[in-house]
Amino acid sequence: MRIPCPFCGPRDVSEFVTLGEATGPRPDPAAPDAAEKFFAYAYLRSNPAGPSEEHWYHALGCRSWLKVVRDTRTHEIESAALAREGAR
């Protein structure tokens, strides 16, 4: 699998680590239902069979965190963007 890092270009998957599904944004800790929201944020996953938004870290490259849309049935990558640009 090759991931098109927006900064470094297409690179082999072995340069990256993934955190798994992007479940963000991080909930508001001050909200009255914060406990419930944080539980869902930390634990629950949609885990779709199809395109899925994930966080990948270019650990052996530019150290960028990426938001990658990848099809879990084919491993095909639809898009990869710097997480900081699309955050929140």
């Binding site: 406990a35 944080f38 539980f39 997480a83």
Partner: protein, 989 residues
Amino acid sequence: MSKPMRLSNGGLLDRRREITFTFDGKPYAGHPGDTLASALMANGVNLVGRSFKYHRPRGIFTAGPEEPNALVTLRNGSRREPNTKATTVELFDRLVATSQNCWPSPRLDVLSVNQLFAPLFVGGFYYKTFMWPASFWEKVYEPAIRRAAGLGMVSRLPDPDHYEHATAYCDVLVVGSGPAGLSAALAAARTGARVIICEEDFRLGGRLLSEPHEIDSMPAIDWVARVEAELTSLPEVRIFRRTSVFGVYDGGTYGALERVSDHLPQPGLHQPRQRLWQIVARRTINAMGAIERPIVFGGNDKPGVILASALRTYVNRFATAPGRKIAFFVTSDDGWLTAQDVLKAGLPIEIVVDARAHVADALTRPLSRAGVRVLLDAVVSDAHGRPGLKHIEVRKDDKILQFEVDVLAVSNGYNPQVGLTTHLGGKPVWSEECGAFVPGELPPGMQSIGAAAGDFALAACLRAGMQAGRTLASDLGFASAPAAVPRADDEPCAVSPVWYVEHRGKAFVDQQNDVTAKDVAIANREGFRAVEHLKRYTTLGMATEQGKTSSVTGQALMAHLTGRTMHQAGTTRFRPPHVPVAIGAFAGPHVGKHFKATRYCAGHDWALENGATMIEAGQWLRPRWFTKPGETDWFESVTREVKTVRAAVGICDVSSLGKIEIHGRDAGAFLDRVYVNMFSTLPVGKARYGLMLREDGIVLDDGTTARLGPEQYVMSTTTGNAGKVMQHLEFCHQVLWPELDVAMASVTEQWTQYAVAGPKSRKVLETLLGDRFDVSNEAFPFLACAEFFWGDVPVRLYRISFSGELAYEIAVPANYGDSLIRALMRAGAEFGAVPYGSEALGVLRIEKGHVSVPELNGQTTAADLGLGKMLSKKKDFIGRVLAERPALTDPDRPSLVGFKPVDPGQRLRSGAHFLAIEAAATAENDEGYMTSVTYSPHAGCWVGLGLLKHGAARIGEYVRAYDPVREGDVEVEVVSPIFVDPEGKWLHE
């Protein structure tokens, strides 16, 4: 040396040179250009080994990697390679091979008595028996089965060879160098595209090496040479010979194995045995060709029964044949072409049997004209002879005819090599037109052409190759004028496959795994009808050739039995590797001492000079202790180091701890969010102990973070978590809070850092620094930090303590690290300074009650570790919300306390579990466990830290530290976890 079965001329052999080799200890000779199989055949050796289950004699069935029978053990000693297909071994000088699965020899094999029990040993028999008595399975039955199973024997010595990994990029990857592959490579290469062509053989040409065609009015092998010359002349073309593409992976990535020196007695100096390529290709042309199919009839496994295409290869390319009385059993036009070649080579053909009633005259005439008996609409039902083929029975119009022959060539059409096309999930589809499975959905960027796509005729292959090469290159923006397609004939290639013939003897579907037609029938009767069930129940297609000659036939038999079409039956999914690949090749160079990178501290050499014993700390090597002359064991050294620190001063390399620079206007705010405690309020020039949680409220890591400037912090992490924390911080910044003005960098390797600990540590630093920096208690109190210059060299100084002593940590850029330790030791000499290692560091921190790796095990909360008060109530931080979940705040959770043995002579061990004194040793009574222990010179006995239920409330109680795996059961007293200086006065002195 005489080679009785070598034809007097022909073949692609270098007859001027002779290569000697041995098989089962007997010497033979062959020529460069031979494979082991062709050389054996030329020497009249047709019995190569015995089969897996029934120990039936087996010979050479094919001429390629699809070989099910001719498996030998190649080489000896530490280079022994069991289960090697003789058909794929390029002959080399002094080659040593031995037969497998037989004793004492393939001819006289004792275990051939197994054949008597064959009626019992049917597919799946072992699932139905060996159950009584229950205890016999592991003691009697299984060991016997295991001894009998398996094929060759592995050397128990380390593999002496090494393997390389390499990566290549290309526009067009061509797999296979037959007519389709060569023309495709040529067409693509002429556009200027970067082309890689991989051929598993040692010669390019594929079937053109075995078949006497004409292309562009020249012999095919001359055409091959011309194309090869042109490809070689093009700068963007790489030709990989002896290279098998074995796997398709995501993103146009292919795995290929180059056998760099398998054709040599042993690799040359610094030469790898094999090289594992990762090839990244934008487009791929699969031109892997096709494999001929056997027919299931009685005795179809006898040595002497051979695929017709293989016979053609042996005759034309290797100038040999397995016998001199040859018969053919064919259902295809291609079989007749082989017969013609055999005739041309001057070998006598007894009979050609074709199951079809009608065959073109053009095919039969040359044979019948030569006096060969031709029987159409007839079948071979049984082959007989022991050990090799002696005669066959032919059934024609319900009459049985017998023919004395020693070779029976079988031709039943071809299976396109669809293996690679299925690696990403594509399913082959049955083509009635081809009578074969052809590629279904292809991996992205791949195109299958030629025989690999079910297009068998030569001219069609050349056409497809030229077209595909050009089209794929032009897809990528490489353009060229169309070139002429090489001229050749489209030879006849019709086939009406016959999968199965009524027979009397044993008829094999999978020869290597000894799966018979009867086994398929039993599988049907028992409901194992799905292709995967058939495979798993009978083991059909699971042998070393992965069903290349058996899977489709087995599926056809099952389809016939269940009344399904081939399309309905489908096929099993092929898995990589397409050909077996050595584990060592996948492993590559990172084995032995190079398994993982070794990270050395700058003071490594100095440490070794001073008697250090090193220990792995993750990838780092750290001094564990320093042995002084006269010391006889580690305990003595460590105890001395600890006592010296407590009484005078010790120096310890702490460079492996993670160091992260955090800069920016919002650096303090950022740290407030990742640490449980406050950092934005930390004054410049001060350091603070910080605790970090994961978002689930469990402790992630701890360490000291110092503020060197208004917008500059330096964080320290534990050695093991340095990478993980860095990744976490980057996540928090880039993903959660990109609006914060903060940047960070890991500087672990950039700085060498030493702890200087003990009551005389200040004196050492005063001596070292002189008037360069004031380290007095007033100017530089506990938890102070500073950065200053010593000449041009930046120095960072922290007054922090892991040992509980008055202590400092001093850091310099790593290239000054060696100088620093030497200077420190010189400065410390007059104060009795000693170096101390990680063991003493551990002793000191346990005595002080500091938590470390054993306590930060990913299962503990801040409160568990007695650090609950650090959680700020004034702000949010990672982990705050989920740390409040009920089970994480349950007062019954074990919490950190100290332990001392009631009998001070007794030793404690980490990993012991706590039980109340009178409680039985059962799970219900488990109250926690010991995390860290040490002999404490200060306490004069062993002490420990551990997590105990209601720990803090039980100081003074006695409990058992129960350690059955080491036969330990020690009564311990629950004490405070701080064994030295509980008020922390020393730190401030």
